[in-house]
């Protein structure tokens, strides 16, 4: 299990469809706020972030990715659910191999024992701050 005072290394995928972005929805019970973040997950020991990105999309929504391109590394130091967190995010831009993912509006998937939702959201709603995007630096890549 992940140590709460350890820096986590993540691989996240930015997927666009016209003016929409594919994003997962989360909720911070302490801030009582819904937030949105790109999908992906933790990089495992001995695994490159590129491999981790593909594995996470496979595990979470059984999606294959194509045209994967590295964008940047983001350092995110934050508070979530009243606890401090620290992440290093390897951010990639990519596309779904299967066109069906561009047709669905919303997906429900499981992350461990939690049910999560991923959906297409208008990038302008994330950029304007109407919907809370985490980490904030992510907005410059939309």
């Amino acid at each position: 299990m992940h140590n709460p005072t350890q820096i986590r290394v993540l691989a996240l995928g930015l997927i666009r469809n016209g003016s929409s972005t594919f994003i997962s929805e989360g909720y911070d019970p302490v801030k009582q706020q819904t937030f949105y973040r790109a999908m992906g997950g933790g990089v495992e020991f001995g695994e490159t972030s590129f491999e981790a990105l593909k594995r996470e999309f496979q595990e979470e929504i059984q999606a294959e990715l194509k045209n994967i391109r590295y964008l940047a590394c983001l350092e995110n130091i934050f508070t979530f659910n009243g606890k401090s967190g620290h992440e290093i995010i390897q951010l990639y831009e990519c596309e779904f191999a299967d066109p069906k993912f561009y047709q669905l509006e919303k997906f429900t998937f499981s992350e461990g024992d939690r049910k999560k939702t991923a959906l297409w959201v208008e990038a302008s709603r994330l950029k304007s701050g109407e919907l809370r995007l985490v980490p904030e630096q992510f907005a410059e890549f939309l």
Binding site: T5, Q6, I7, V9, V43, F45, G46, E47, T48, S49, C73, E75, I77, S84, H86, I88, Q90
Partner: protein
Amino acid sequence: MTPQEKIKVKVFGLIKDTNQDNNRLFVYQGYDSIKQKTFYRALGGSIEFGENSYTALKREFQEEIQADLKNIEYVGCIENIFINEGQKGHEIIQVYQCDFVDPKFYQLDELTFFEVDNTEYKAMWIDVDRIKSGELWLVPSEFCHYL
């Protein structure tokens, strides 16, 4: 999971000296006793929880060789999965290009310093040409892209 099996998040300072026909890089020397090979590596260290890489870079150079840095510019991130001393390692390295504030560091030939575990290291300037030719082994090899 053994304690070694954790991704380490690090920051390195890429310090070049290109004055007066020089083309040198500031590194420290290490030795892999299993590969029986000397290697060279940029200085820096681990990023602490809650600390950004920029702050960690300045702190590490202070702690290790009491040096202030200037002109600090981010250059990129390296993922390094390797074997050292027969053990598998995995690092994510934030790389910054920078200069020493104090000119005395550009005059030194060699500098001894100690890590927190009291291991003794030697820091020095090495010719970039000797790295590029393969005569000197710089790790990780991706670091060569920034030379």
